[in-house]
Amino acid sequence: MSRAMSETLLSRAAGETRSAIIEIPAAQGCLEIDDLSLRYGEQPALRGLSLRVPRHSVTAFIGPSGCGKSTLLRVLNRLHDLNDEVTQSGRVLLEGEDIHGPGVAVAQLRRRVGMVFQTPNPFPMSIYENVAFGLRLQAPLKKRRRDEIIEWALVSAALWDEVKDRLHDSAWTLSGGQQQRLVIARTLAVQPEVLLLDEPASALDPISSLKIEELIRNLKSRLSVILVTHNMQQAARVSDYTAFLEGGELVEYAATDDLFTNPRLTRTEDYITGRMS
């Protein structure tokens, strides 16, 4: 969405407050984003975002294409580190610790903050090896212990029953939905504290999509989930909190039920009722 357009929208909503953000108590927050701005070259993508993500809950980021929600997710995993064009400012705290701090090893951080992408991307290996991939990067485990973790991860990802007899088949023999659950299992195996899901069901058929949603609801007992989605029904079904982003800004952040039934800003209401998406 162009900048000019967002400015017209702003002027139309004149008189209204720019944003409505609920404050999550610091004790409940696991991730805290503080005045985060980011630009690709000259193109701003995030403008001064601040919010706190609560622990053991599902937080959805919604918003039109180009609003910065995927960019924000990649910041949390420090995937922008590789891109020289990106300049960013502000802080992200994971359990009170700055993820960009000098003492933080990026590989270590990514183990704590796992990420699942839009298209299923299993490695060209067996199902077993895919889940073992992250484990093999760490200190060597006894085979029995590793097998246990792999089984646990596949069970947690609701995939175990479907693949337990063919763990050593290529991961590409699985269907798209199974592949995406395999990727989630692969991420769970390294036992992250936060799971970032970047439109995890948008490339899947409706049934597979429902399975993923169910899985997400079950996962929040163990970790904090951040879900980026285009699909507002999905956000409403799955998440506890929802943040609406537009033009790189956080517009409204509230408990999901409040945001969808009683949006406080007209910009949010326009978006969720489909007036401008």
Binding site: M115, F123, G134, W172
Partner: protein, 515 residues
Amino acid sequence: MRRAGRPRGEGPWPWLAAGSLALSLLMLAALLLLLAGRGLGHFWPAPVVLVTLDDGHQLAGQPVREERRRTLEGHWVRERLYRVGNRDLDGEAWRWVEVGRIVAEETPEAWAVIERRRWGELIVRPLALEEAGRRLTEAPLWSAFEARLERGRALAEERDALREEVIAPLARRLAAGHDDAAARERLVAAQARVAELQAAMARDVLVVESAAGERLSVPLAEITAAWRPNAMSPAEKLLAWGSNLWHFLSEGPEAANSAGGVWPAIFGTVLMVLLMSLLVTPFGVLAAVYLHEVAPQGRLTGWVRIAVRNLAGVPSIVYGVFGLGVFVYGLGGRLDAWFFAETLPSPTFGTGGLLWASLTLALLTLPVVIVATEEGLARIPDQQREAALALGATRAEMLRRVVLPMALPAMLTGVILAIARAAGEVAPLMLVGVAKLAPQVPVDGDFPYLHLERKFMHLGYHVFDVGFHGGDVEAALPLVYATALLLVGVILVLNLTAILLRHHLRARHAAPGTR
């Protein structure tokens, strides 16, 4: 919907395209057929024809081909070329005969083709066998002759074995300064046995007569092979063809490359190509990985890419000159001065050799490997890299565990292209290490087993040498065809091996969309 089996597209274009493809395939087939026909036909035992001319002269030979020629008077005559052998008797091993002057042709069974160590082959009628000057009356003559030829071969084998396994090692030991009385004694004994064997081999002599009526005594020790093509059944001929072909493949060259086999050249070609692959693969892959995965992308990497692609177009002889100047004289001269000073001025590494030839060809094929590997790396989806990173892999772990395995088929494609290019190169090799004649292959039982400094033979250079540097063009021509066919065959086998390997790897590591 289009009908199956019809070319897609409209107008003359599909036909034009299909025609071009058909023409290319036809030319390829014609090339292979020519090489196979001319080259493999050479080993077939052709019949010996006894020709009587209108002036009463007789000649015996194997017809090779016919041509129409214009005489000095201006009319056309058909002439036929005969391989008549007997170079030491007649001075010419080939005879053109006007077909119109032939009054009689027969194929008598008694005539034989006899190959000798010197002077090429004889096409003669065997008359008698002599043992130490005494004429023998054993009958039939031919089977007696074959039995004695076999005895001679056994003796020669014993002599060669003695020379190789006893005399040579002892002589090396003594030359190295171990003055050992027992060894000296054994050496003398072995030499005496060799002399004995030589004398025993010289015992038998075959007396033969040429078509012109000249008689000749041929010691059996001189004879390498003999057959009577007119008396052979088709099965025997096929057997003889196979055996000739096997000798061509498995033996060293004789008589200044104009006869004998090409085994050292096959071995040299394959070994050189394998060494080249071993050298070029790690360099090419590392360079491509740096260029695509490590270096910050910018104008400089763009320029480097253009330069690498252009290097692939540099004529190969230029690489030869570079190899001669830098590897042979530069590096080789340095190595000699440091490690082989005691043998100077005769060079060890300071002259062309297997190592320098492989290095030069590795340099020549480096761009191919770099380009192919880079293309393979570019085909790997970024999601795969991100997935590895998101699981806590460092960049190095991501490269090693995800990216490189997935790029393996592409790397092998690069190596296949490199092999295809390197195996056929001759020009640079002439400068950096190929030899006209190197009957010792560069691998043997002596430490360090692989002799990188040795010169080697190469099929491509062998074609050139046999075809253009031999005295006897008619004799060389079939060998040129056969060697060329063999070169094509060797490259095919090398490529097929790599392709099979790649297929195997692809089944394990293919990236989506690269299958």
